[in-house]
Amino acid sequence: MAQSAAPPAVAPDAPLTLPVRAILPWAAFFGILMLILLYFVGAEGGTAAVFSGEGVHEWVHDGRHLLGFPCH
């Protein structure tokens, strides 16, 4: 990759970055939300159950197998 030969001042073509400060709140909130979503697709009703019964497991049964999650 081309190491920038420009003087170390502010390179006009410096790569654009997003400040971590701006990302963290979204990552914390939506990251956890997404993991909960994945939990319902991938594990609910098998090892642990928030809702009683096998309803969630049976509903996403085919997706769970085909997406690679362990199932019966």
Binding site: P15, L16, W26, L38, L66, P70
Partner: protein, 255 residues
């Protein structure tokens, strides 16, 4: 570039996930359901006890499959969009489209490919319900390990780049990733519960379908989200070709 940009990218990532989910559902329905049905035929022929059918097969193959796939693709697309926000400008001098492609490649390898090598997707009836807890824990552990090793490899590559140059640093970090993942694959317990007489071609077809779904998911995420992200981050360059790139005497390009 602030929090609003991150929000826009996250929303576009999740919209990409929904679009991708439609594609993956179509593929899963056309390619994945056939071996799954064959496995259910085997299961029905060998199972002694069978609980009441809570959800009909028709619903499981259509609405149920679509729900699972769309949740999965939207969730991972959202996480990948956030990973993209972190990665942009920090993993090398890549623009938005290339960064999205690399994040998608990383997602495919760490979230799917590496865990798949140890604990491949399996059709119904090939695994014992008794070991479900253990298999579930191992699978999520494998994903977490693989993602963490992947992040560690990227950080290692960045640290080495000033000394070794980008090319050699990338190779060193990749080799470190392969060795660390190889050790994890070697030392985690194996799962082999294939019942006697289960048709091997059904397992093969099922796993090819499962791998195809993930390939489709991550490839289309990388391409679609890269395009959308570039329009957010570089609106001018995305809309019009750069002026400097055109030589003065160049004839107008035929369209």
């Amino acid at each position: 570039m602030n929090s609003a940009t991150v929000r826009t990218l996250l929303v576009r990532g999740m919209l990409t996930g929904i679009a991708t989910g439609v594609l993956v559902f179509g593929f899963a329905y056309l390619v994945g359901e056939s071996p799954l049905r064959s496995a259910l035929v085997f299961e029905a022929a060998h199972e002694t006890e069978h609980g009441p059918e809570l959800v009909s097969r028709t619903l499981q193959e259509t609405a149920g499959l679509a729900t699972g796939v769309l949740f999965f693709t939207t969730a991972f697309a959202g996480i990948a969009a956030l990973a993209f926000c972190f990665a942009l400008g920090r993993i090398g001098r890549f623009g938005p489209r290339a960064t999205a492609g690399l994040v998608a490649l990383g997602g495919f390898v760490t979230v799917f490919l590496v865990p798949f090598l140890k604990y491949p997707a399996s059709p119904p009836a090939v695994s014992s319900p008794d070991t479900l807890n253990q298999r579930t824990a191992l699978y999520w552990l494998m994903i977490a390990l693989s993602v963490l090793i992947g992040i560690a490899a990227v950080v290692l590559g960045q640290r080495l780049a000033p000394r070794l140059g980008n090319w050699n640093a990338t190779i060193t970090a990749s080799v470190a990733f392969v060795v660390a993942v190889g050790l994890a694959l070697a030392f985690l317990p194996a799962v082999n519960e294939m019942p006697e007489g289960f048709p091997a071609n059904v397992v093969w077809d099922f796993r090819v379908a499962a791998a195809g779904m993930q390939l489709l998911l991550w490839a289309s995420f990388g391409l679609i989200f890269g395009h959308l992200a570039e329009r957010v981050l570089e609106p001018r360059t995305a809309n019009a070709p750069t002026q400097q790139a055109v030589p003065p005497q160049a004839a107008p390009a035929p369209h």
